[in-house]
Symmetry: C2
Subunit: 390 residues, 2 copies
């Protein structure tokens, strides 16, 4: 096992009615709150009103309109509000984009440089506003981790930022808030969960325990995602997806593993630098091609073993078959599963051509550290994978 | 899924050489340290010297000789030292008994009543000294949870105490410190891990995700325990057991489950009130009989389903067999596994007769809440189970 350090100190409130804890949790940090949210969905489901009613005794300032693949412009607006109103707590009500935006706001408020420079130059946060989240989409796991990803359209980039200081102090996870999430977004969100786990599973080394924990969550998502799509108000299904999303990206599943790069995320983020694709949809398209690309005639025993484990333990493929056959079947089953969810499975379907593949490939290798991945990828490899996605 | 609250905010340092973080971690809380440890084992492996050398700049007071099934007398001695020397941090170097003793010392130092009264009357802790642990035995999970269990021989009792304030601030887990643990203690420790998971698995309700996480850790322990016994310096095996022990009892595996009682622990703790049995050995003996007792002719579909899941997913029993057959086989395989580890499988072998079964049964129902367990148990049930253990 590899050495590791771990501290997952977000206070989680999971389940129906847990929103009632919000005032007490915010009170710990202050009275002046920046409420960050996206479009109108939290108003449609009544959550906005619930929050406003609960926080009658607080001074609320609002940053709304945060978009998927959250934009640096929203961050800058939030930073301005925090400084102007001496905000004491940032409250994110929404999905991963809203939470990521809130995280960067909370750190950049104290940064002397512009928020984008802070991200791009990885300027270390010395202090940050406390963040509290109310989750409305099971996907990124941002509610339970210490990272955030922001897009900058003017530079065609989407970059990540990490700091223990931006880990949410408290996250409220009520599966009922995801009842109205569309089938498409539910599927895309769950592909993000699956991808987070696959990125931790296809690695140079992982302890057996980590593999088993990863497989446990993968099987859960594969079992409950179709149920949540079929019956959007299935609390059990929504609940299992929600908790799966939270533990899929905070590291707990793969402690002791040697993880060198998140290959598919590395490529997909570059796609998001140029296009507003839904993150999970981009991941579904890329993941299948990445799998087929690395399972080539040069695939060594270690790669075959990984795929075979995945096929046997996640997709219940007969372990008596040849490893290569199991491996190929495991990719076929993954693709079939994604297709069954109604996810478009090519970039062409999304209206994306190869115009920017060169730059995207360069940047993904650079920012995604893909040369050090489980199967190292250079620029040409990434271009080939992207072409397979057309 | 059931509602839950969760915050696992212990800073974990896992792996070789992580002890070097000790001075910095202690420094956060002060200079005056109570070092709590057991017999001579930490001296034999050189860990005592390492710690003392690292803490040259600190004022160290020592409480040694903490016994397995830690006694209230050790706690009282520790409390006295903490008060006399205005201790600022409690450092536990050892296994679960040492850590549990340190936890109660840290809380009882500020309690106006005697430490045993604090436990017995569940007097809420208002403050506690920060606790740092260095683990030397993979077993109880105390290094990563908020509970402690203490024995009082004069009252023939062993009782638990819970408080967020006694959750360790930092735990250092270096699998090398377990290289010299005997085969017997390694096996007993792992039975404790297994039992912690079974107590979370045989419950009135658990989400699929929780079941899968529990099965993941069970399979890991079953795979690596024989390896650790065969080759005590197998770092990989020791490492997986160590991390398994830490996550097996802090709740993360079963969040969203409805857990009503830890049946076998409830009975075993009473055994420890009268006898100094090794906790894990007592658990092995009781667990098998408890399983056979609840899998009787009255066992309903829910009980059969639990056992069948356990048999199929943990012991790889053919899922095409009848549920009852799978269930019985799962118990047989569990027993065979325990026996293969060289664990004595009856109370008679431990020199224990039925003299105290009446009181033990009464107390276990009372303190273990066994009337509310997955399969509710009254005093007579417990007596019958204990008699099966002879």
């Amino acid at each position: 096992m590899e050495n590791f350090q771990f501290n997952s100190n977000t206070q989680i409130f999971f389940g129906k009615g847990q929103i009632s804890n919000l005032p007490n949790e915010i009170k710990k940090y202050g009275k002046k709150v920046l409420l960050v949210y996206g479009g109108g969905s939290i108003k449609k489901i009544g959550l906005y009103d619930t929050v406003i009613n609960l926080l009658k005794d607080f001074e609320i300032h609002e940053l709304n309109g945060v978009k998927p693949n959250p934009k640096i412009e929203s961050v800058r607006e939030g930073v301005k509000l925090c400084r102007e109103h001496s905000i004491e707590v940032v409250l994110a009500v929404g999905g991963g984009s809203v939470i990521d935006c809130a995280k960067i706001i909370s750190a950049a408020t104290f940064c002397k440089e512009d928020a984008w420079d802070m991200i791009k130059k990885s300027i270390k946060t010395e202090t940050a506003l406390p963040i509290i989240t109310v989750l409305t989409l099971s996907a990124t796991g941002s509610e339970y981790d210490a990272g955030a990803i922001i897009a900058n359209k003017s530079e065609n980039e989407k970059l990540g930022y990490e700091s223990e200081l931006i880990r949410p102090k408290t996250s409220i996870l009520d599966p009922e808030y995801t009842f109205t999430v569309s089938a498409y977004q539910t599927a895309a969100g769950s592909v993000d969960i699956i991808s987070h786990i696959l990125e931790q599973y296809f690695v140079p080394y992982s302890p057996f325990l980590a593999d088993k924990l990863c497989e446990a969550v993968l099987k859960t998502v594969i079992k409950y995602l179709p149920k949540a799509i079929e019956n959007p108000k299935d609390y059990e299904a929504r609940g299992q997806l929600m908790w799966a999303s939270s533990i899929a990206d905070n590291g707990i599943l793969s402690l002791g593993s040697r993880i060198t790069a998140f290959s598919c995320h590395g490529i997909e983020h570059e796609l998001n630098g140029y296009y507003d694709t839904t993150h999970g949809v981009g991941l579904a398209i890329i993941t299948i091609r990445w799998m087929r690309y690395i399972l080539n005639e040069k695939a060594n025993e270690e790669i075959l073993k990984r795929f075979a484990n995945y096929g046997i333990n996640v997709w219940d493929i007969d372990s008596n078959l040849e490893k290569l056959e199991i491996s190929k079947k495991s990719i076929d089953l993954t693709e079939k599963f994604f297709k069954s969810l109604g996810i478009p499975m090519s970039l062409t379907e999304l209206g994306i051509g190869e115009e920017h593949f060169e730059e995207m490939a360069s940047n993904s290798v650079k920012y995604g550290f893909l040369e050090y991945a489980f199967v190292p990828l250079d620029k040409n490899d990434v271009i080939k994978i992207l072409k397979m996605c057309l």
